[in-house]
Amino acid sequence: MYPVPARIEKIRVETEDGLIKSFYLRLLEEKPFVHKPGQFAMLSVLGKGECPIGIASSPKEELLMFSVFRTGLVTDALHRLSEGMVIGLRGPMGNGYPVESFCGKNIVLIAGGFAVTTLRATLLYLLENRKDFGQITMIYGARSPGLLLYRDELKAWQKRKDLNLYLTVDREVAGWDGLVGFVPQITEKIAPSGKESVALVCGPPIMIKFTLPILEKLGFSPQDIYLSLENKMRCGLGLCRHCNVGPALVCKDGPVFTLAQLKRLPQEY
């Protein structure tokens, strides 16, 4: 698959340390791009390489939005680009969340740090199809208020009656009047019931490690807990095998896996 040209229409610095920027892209080819929440795309910077980034925009939004954390060769190059520049894009890739199977269920979205990106896409999709789902709860935590992404949207979402949004930061900070505590502890406090519910968990390994037992205690079964894995990728097409976790390829069989599936796979992630 060759990359499709995409122009950076807007860049927004999300976090106060400048390490996460959101890129709003417009595809410059007529090819239709229809994605599911949870899918990702390969962003290509000619001369540097490609990196897989989760699609943070919902399928109905006009521009494709990616929130990129600056960490390596390609993400660093992306951060140096300006609005108006053209990059390449290959996608959508991966399996995404099986949102059709969530109909009628309560959804609990649990996000830690900058893993909230694909959960934003998911939340928007759920809100766009609100009547298909039961209660929607979102618990989102970051180390500090300045490291929360999508802050203006968060304010709007907190006001909504059809969504229970809980924001938390790791430690007390002046000017923050929201919850304080790590995401696993907050999840335990809010205690969403696992009955007729699915949980979508995205975050750093340590957060996941402590959140999973709490979810199991609350009655979520392993088939109803969804995790999104990250791994080193090159082709995104299931050919190069760099992203394999045992027999599964994160780019093709994932990135979304249920906890039940992960329990049968080696812990190579």
């Binding site: 990359p3 390596g72 520049m85 050919l239 095998r241 394999n244 190579e268």
Partner: protein, 326 residues
């Protein structure tokens, strides 16, 4: 349909093939362009995989200026004939094709290339295609298979393309030639059965093999170099690299090895397979369990190159047996 050609007419056949397409014959280290002479020693170190997953596959060409659109590249459409391929190497390509059928580069190269196989007659202690369930006389993966015996070449076209590779001097084989061919094919497989380990591996639970204790001892000697992966006719992992010289750049595909440290290393530095043991185990789990589970056969054709060329003394059979008996 079987044809017979006198051994002395081999050069005529090669000349005929050379007129049709670029012709490659086995050298000691790799397949080389035909230059008038041919020897059939042993398998070249580098298998014909090099023609389908080449050492450099340029995919995009671009100018390094902001906003430049890259030019999409594809392999040359020139036809090629590879002569003297072994059955194991040809079968390996059919295994790779199971994964790569949608890949534009591999498919185009596969379409443009004809493979003429030479049947293995002499016993070799190095290789074991039959143990992997392969019948080297079936011609699977080849366009044409020929056998050399008693100053005669017996030619068996396997595909439609193979029929066009038969030279005009070849005559339809007589019943005794056909009998000879069939007898040789039958005798080759006498007392050579697929390894019982393969059946055991199919039935064993994945995580039981993964968590077994033998990996530490068996992986100790491994250098984690790329010899086994690069010489293997079925290994297909690749890396993608952007190469820039001055103002021009190429995005290329190059062979990569799961044995290397960087194979699974994230940009953050996190490496799910940091230890040499983890990478060693991953390779053999893929070849003899993950691929076996998904496609019903192991990702190995028994060519023996890994065993013969491993500098660390690692024995593939020890690993397969340990995996099957855990």
């Amino acid at each position: 349909m079987l044809y017979v050609l006198g051994r002395e007419k081999l050069d005529n056949w090669l000349a005929f093939l050379e007129k049709k397409a670029r012709l490659f014959v086995p050298g000691k280290e790799k397949f080389e362009p035909y230059q008038g002479n041919i020897t059939f020693e042993s398998k070249p170190l580098l298998s014909p995989k090099e023609f389908f997953l080449p050492p450099r596959e340029p995919m995009l060409s671009f100018e390094v200026t902001p906003g430049a659109f890259p030019e999409k590249l594809s392999p040359s459409p020139d036809e090629r004939i590879i002569f003297g391929v072994r059955a194991c190497d040809a079968y390996a390509l059919t295994l790779i094709k199971k994964v790569y059928q949608e890949d534009v580069f591999f498919s185009l190269r596969y379409k443009n290339t004809s493979l003429i196989g030479k049947a293995c007659l002499a016993e070799s202690t190095d290789c074991f295609c039959w143990a992997m369930g392969i019948d080297p006389f079936s011609g699977s993966g080849l366009d044409l298979l020929f056998l050399e015996k008693d100053e005669k070449l017996l030619l068996k076209p396997i595909t439609e393309k193979g029929k066009t590779l038969v030279p005009v001097e070849a005559k339809e084989a007589l019943p005794e030639d056909k009998a000879l061919f069939n007898e040789i094919a039958k005798n080759f497989l006498k007392n050579k059965n697929p390894s019982p380990s393969l059946l055991r591996l199919k039935e064993k639970d994945l995580m039981t093999i993964y968590n077994a204790s033998f990996w530490e001892k068996l992986s100790f000697a491994c250098l984690n170099c790329g010899i086994c992966t690069f010489l293997c006719p079925t290994c297909y992992c690749f890396d993608v690299h952007d190469e820039v010289v001055g103002e021009k750049g190429l995005r290329i595909r190059v062979p990569d090895s799961c044995m290397f440290l960087l194979y699974t290393q994230h940009a953050s530095g996190h490496n799910p397979r940091r230890s040499p043991l983890a990478r060693f185990r991953n390779r053999f789990m893929h070849k003899f369990k993950y691929f076996l589970d998904e496609y019903g056969e192991p990702l190995c054709v028994g060519c023996g190159r890994c065993n013969t060329n491993c500098p660390a003394g690692i024995n593939l059979w020890e690993i397969i047996q340990a995996m099957g008996e855990v």
